[in-house]
């Protein structure tokens, strides 16, 4: 994908947030113990995580990074990064500690994480950079008081156009007078990733940008009608949806496709794996895993649903949605409790351990002991029995 192919390799190659990049770079250069931590705030996709990775690489500093929304408790933060904050290497070399998505530490699930960070930034021997998406959250404001805050914003349209022109030139794409390109820039709303994907989708399907911007319904129908994996892949890449929206919409369309039970189960299995990829990306910020998402859907989902589904605009029936929400909530809660019990992450518990636990719950004694160990109330009994029966 072009977003990966043209990912900036140096801080200078990034686009937008010029003053912010300089401020962060100078902050690290002048950092010494006692200096404030740095807090980067701004919407997703504005380059906060990319910048920190490149900053560590270019300054030759090793980096200890952690997605804070994955580790919320004080004890687990201490275990994962406490040492890294307090120690330097044998030769006095420092590590850059990066806590991404600190918004995830906040709110009702906060088990002392914010206090841990506030204390840590005062005592650390290593520079700490934090990143948050929601600058207006009260807790972020409190955190900001003990940090140097730098705001990240989407790049202005002219810079987005410059970046797209550079890619188009490298790919041999003709952009002519630039009206179509300007249309992409405006539609992208400053989201470089989206803009590059829009540019590439034009390139994938050939001809002009206007002709290759089908509606979502056309794109989904093309996916269901695709004769082979390559056509299914091309159809997916014309969809102007975020990956999460794409998976969600395909889930709805598959459910409403009227497939026989065995095929429906197989199709949902693929959608579920796509959802796991999204979850993994959310937890690790490894956006390059996105390259596998469309491939998975085109190679494994398209053959199952070929010629048997179409775009459905309406949402799922409310009772079904309610059931899905309730089950998802139960899975989330169960994962969190099991994770705390087994000293693993909620994401690992959900993807790796829960399927086995559910299978073992076919045994009533095991189920009861699990309920006791995780302090589950009676509402879980029915849920576990249902899951065990699958």
């Amino acid at each position: 994908m072009w977003v990966e192919k043209y990912r900036p390799r140096t801080m200078a190659e990034m686009v937008g947030n010029e003053e912010a990049r300089i401020a962060v770079s100078l902050w690290l250069r002048d950092w010494k113990p006692g200096k404030k931590a740095m807090l980067l705030v701004g919407p997703p996709g504005t380059g906060k995580t990319t910048l920190v990775g490149l900053l560590a690489k270019e300054s030759g500093t090793s980096m200890v990074d952690l997605n804070a929304s994955d580790v919320r408790t004080k004890e687990r933060l201490e275990r994962r990064i406490g040492e890294a904050m307090r120690t330097v290497d044998l030769f006095g070399g420092r590590s850059l500690v990066f806590l991404d998505e600190v918004d995830g530490l906040l709110g009702r699930s906060d088990y002392g994480g914010v206090e841990f960070i506030k204390d840590a930034v005062k005592a650390t021997k290593n520079p700490i950079i934090m990143a948050a998406n929601d600058q207006d959250a009260d807790e972020i404001r409190k955190l900001a008081s003990s940090c140097v805050t730098v705001r990240f914003r989407p790049p202005p349209p002219r810079e987005v156009e410059m970046y797209l022109r550079r890619i188009a030139a490298a790919e041999g794409r003709e952009v002519g007078g630039g009206e179509e390109l300007r249309s992409i820039v405006t539609r992208s709303g400053g989201d470089l990733r989206h803009a590059v994907n829009l540019l590439q989708s034009g390139g994938t399907a050939g001809s002009s940008f206007k002709e290759v911007s089908p509606s979502v319904s056309q794109g989904i129908n093309a996916f269901f009608d695709a004769p082979d994996a390559a056509s299914a892949l091309a159809a997916l890449r014309t969809l102007h949806l975020s990956p999460v929206e794409k998976v969600r919409l395909l889930h709805t369309c598959v459910l409403k496709a009227g497939l026989p039970p065995a095929d429906l189960a197989a199709a949902l299995e693929v959608v579920s794996r796509a959802d796991l990829i999204m979850g993994e990306i959310g937890a690790t910020n490894e956006w390059r895993m996105l390259r596998y998402l469309d491939g998975l859907l085109a190679n494994e989902l398209a053959p199952i649903v070929r010629g048997r589904g179409k775009y459905v605009s309406e949402d799922l029936p409310f009772p079904l949605l309610l059931r899905i929400w309730n089950d998802s909530k139960k899975v989330r809660e169960l994962s969190a409790r099991y994770a705390a019990h087994a000293s693993t992450s909620a994401a690992s518990a959900r993807s790796q351990d829960l399927p086995f636990l559910f299978a073992l719950c076919a045994s009533a004694p095991f189920r009861e002991s699990l309920e006791r160990a995780l302090d589950l109330d009676e509402t879980y009994e029915k849920f576990l029995v249902k899951e065990a029966g699958r």
Binding site: E18, E19, R21, V150, R151, R153, R158, E159, M162, G190
Partner: protein
Amino acid sequence: MKKVLVGGWFTLPRLSREDFSLLMRQGVKYDREMGFRIEPETDLESAVRTIRSAVGEEVSLVLRCFVCGRDACDGCPYLETCDRTKVSSMCLCGEHSPETDAYPLYVKAASESLAG
């Protein structure tokens, strides 16, 4: 219309104590000699609101060209659609517009700035 160059010094008529402290809280820098300046950490939307109410006229933010430092908004084809309170603070002027293959110049300017 009050034009404010983002990242450049600008002056304002004498402000009330409340408006002044509000601007400071919103991250606007003040220097007795030079005046006011929008910084990377400035809460732009709020600061523009404060300035607008203080001077009693509309405020138009003007971005600077990252390559040469000139007014980047003059003649920009995106002027109508670009919300300058929401985008990052530097851009490209007509001379260094995307049509002129500005990316190598842009990267060079960034390298120099980052090298300090």
